[in-house]
């Protein structure tokens, strides 16, 4: 079958690509749009390394086809910083050293941002459950959670 034409919005920019219907949104982001922030960890929706938002909803981009992105509004980790200005979560992850190898980090950041947009004042338990679909084999999660909780506190103060 010939490739399908997809028009979508990624991090605010209108983009178009051609894709095979079997290709996932993750494949399309990485291989066609050169947005390699989202990572393929498991490819089965278990690890969360490929987390992006679609119309504001947090999803695994490996569990969605590229063709399903047509007409949607996609946000990836590449859209988090404002030019050189890091998002408060990104800044805090550096301060807290909330990463080691960094493979899970783009997915964790996208997921944590989605959490704070939905709930600016999460309990630690809520944050841990929200991020349960983002696996990290380096940090033991504690630094990640502390960075998210502290960012939430800062952002509440700033607003």
């Amino acid at each position: 079958m010939s490739k399908l034409h997809v028009s979508t919005t990624v991090n605010g920019d209108a983009v178009e690509f051609l894709c095979d219907p079997r290709e996932t949104l993750l494949d399309c982001l990485r291989d066609k749009l050169n947005l390699t922030g989202a990572k393929e960890g498991c490819g089965t929706g278990d690890c969360g390394a490929c987390s992006v938002t679609v119309d504001g909803r947090l999803v695994c981009s490996c569990l969605m086809l590229g063709v399903e992105a047509d007409g949607k509004d996609i946000a990836t980790v590449e859209g988090m910083a404002d030019g050189e200005e890091l998002h408060p979560l990104q800044q805090k992850f550096i301060e807290y050293a909330a990463l080691q190898c960094g493979i899970c980090t783009p997915g964790v950041l996208v997921a944590a941002k989605a959490l704070l947009e939905k709930n600016p004042d999460p309990t630690e338990e809520e944050a841990r459950y929200w991020l349960a679909g983002n696996l990290c084999r380096c940090t033991g999660y504690d630094k990640i959670i502390r960075a998210v909780m502290d960012t939430a506190a800062d952002m509440r103060e700033a607003s």
């Binding site: 079958m1 399908l4 219907p21 079997r22 996932t24 490819g43 089965t44 929706g45 278990d46 969360g48 987390s51 679609v54 909803r57 947090l58 999803v59 695994c60 490996c62 569990l63 969605m64 086809l65 063709v67 399903e68 997921a111 989605a114 959490l115 459950y129 929200w130 991020l131 349960a132 679909g133 983002n134």
Partner: protein, 288 residues
């Protein structure tokens, strides 16, 4: 693989009916894509039903029940409010499935049609006497959820048939439902045993009940003996014991890495008692 996104269920049904090879309907895709990517099932035809009007709607019926579109996600159900006040068991069962990311995509109908006996939302739907509307070449028919799965990965849907809506009955007065599952941790796992209970009270006495068990047989079970054990009682200790015995007696599980036959059989009784108590409390007006 051909990909189509038809504008109506009639068109979706016709596409499937005339297809050769393997056809899959795509709603949330959290099972279909995993199977596709792992080469377990490579469809020749993929029919995306999310572009059909109304598939993302949660609508109150004139009778006081609910109609859910087939692409309504777990996250949308959890965020709804009124649906969860009517049927907390169904909403909580769906919410137990997977991560936040999976909740953003996964659907009740996908969970049902994947045909897993461990599907969390299915015992809750069966307990609640939920039906699905099935669209085929001859029009629509309404089918009880318990009549859809026929074995692991298999359903009673014929070629060319597609589920086009989920129909949840009116909760009515003095009713409550609950779903519990056992997993070795609190998140991100597949049910070792699941149990859904829905009941109605008159005063303190149970007048109607439906009890459903998951992951203890090739399909999710509706267990009449469990319902009979508590109907006419005030859910006293004797009734709860009889309920647990009936639940364990209904089990026909497998041994696997998640649990042994003996463990699943025992836990089915324990969960039935606990879920019945929560449903009873909700029917009495508890907020829990």
């Amino acid at each position: 693989m051909d990909y189509h996104s038809p504008a109506s269920f009639t068109e979706a049904s016709a596409l499937a009916a005339s297809a050769t090879g393997i056809t899959r309907f795509l709603a949330g895709g959290t099972d279909v894509l995993v199977q596709l990517r792992s080469d377990m099932v490579t469809p020749d035809l993929l029919i995306d039903i999310k572009k059909i009007d109304g598939v993302s709607a949660i609508t109150r019926t004139p009778e006081g029940g609910w109609t859910l579109g087939v692409a309504v996600t777990g996250a949308e159900m959890s965020e709804h409010g009124a649906l969860g006040r009517d049927w907390p068991g169904i909403v909580e069962a769906m919410d137990l499935i997977g991560s936040t990311q999976v909740q953003g995509r996964a659907t009740l109908v996908g969970n049902l049609c994947n045909g897993s006996p461990a599907a969390d939302s299915v015992p809750a739907m069966i307990a609640a006497e939920v039906t699905v509307t099935v669209t085929g070449a001859d029009g629509e028919r309404v089918v009880l959820v318990e009549d859809i799965p026929t074995g692991p990965g298999r359903t009673s849907l014929a070629k060319g048939e597609v589920i086009s809506a989920v129909n949840i009955p009116p909760r009515g007065l003095h009713g409550g439902d609950a779903y519990l599952r056992f997993i070795p941790r609190t998140e991100m796992d597949i049910a070792v045993v699941g149990c859904g209970v829905s009941l109605r009270l008159e005063g303190d006495t149970v007048t109607e009940a439906r009890v459903s068990l998951g992951a203890v047989a090739p399909t999710v079970l509706l267990v009449e003996d469990c319902a009979n054990a508590i109907i006419g009682t005030k859910l006293d200790d004797a009734a709860l014991e009889a309920l647990a015995l009936a639940a364990s007696a209904a089990c026909n599980p497998i041994d696997d890495k998640r649990g042994t036959i003996a463990f699943r059989t025992e836990v089915a009784g324990v969960l039935a008692k606990r879920a019945a108590k929560i449903a009873y409390g909700r029917a009495k007006g508890d907020q829990q």
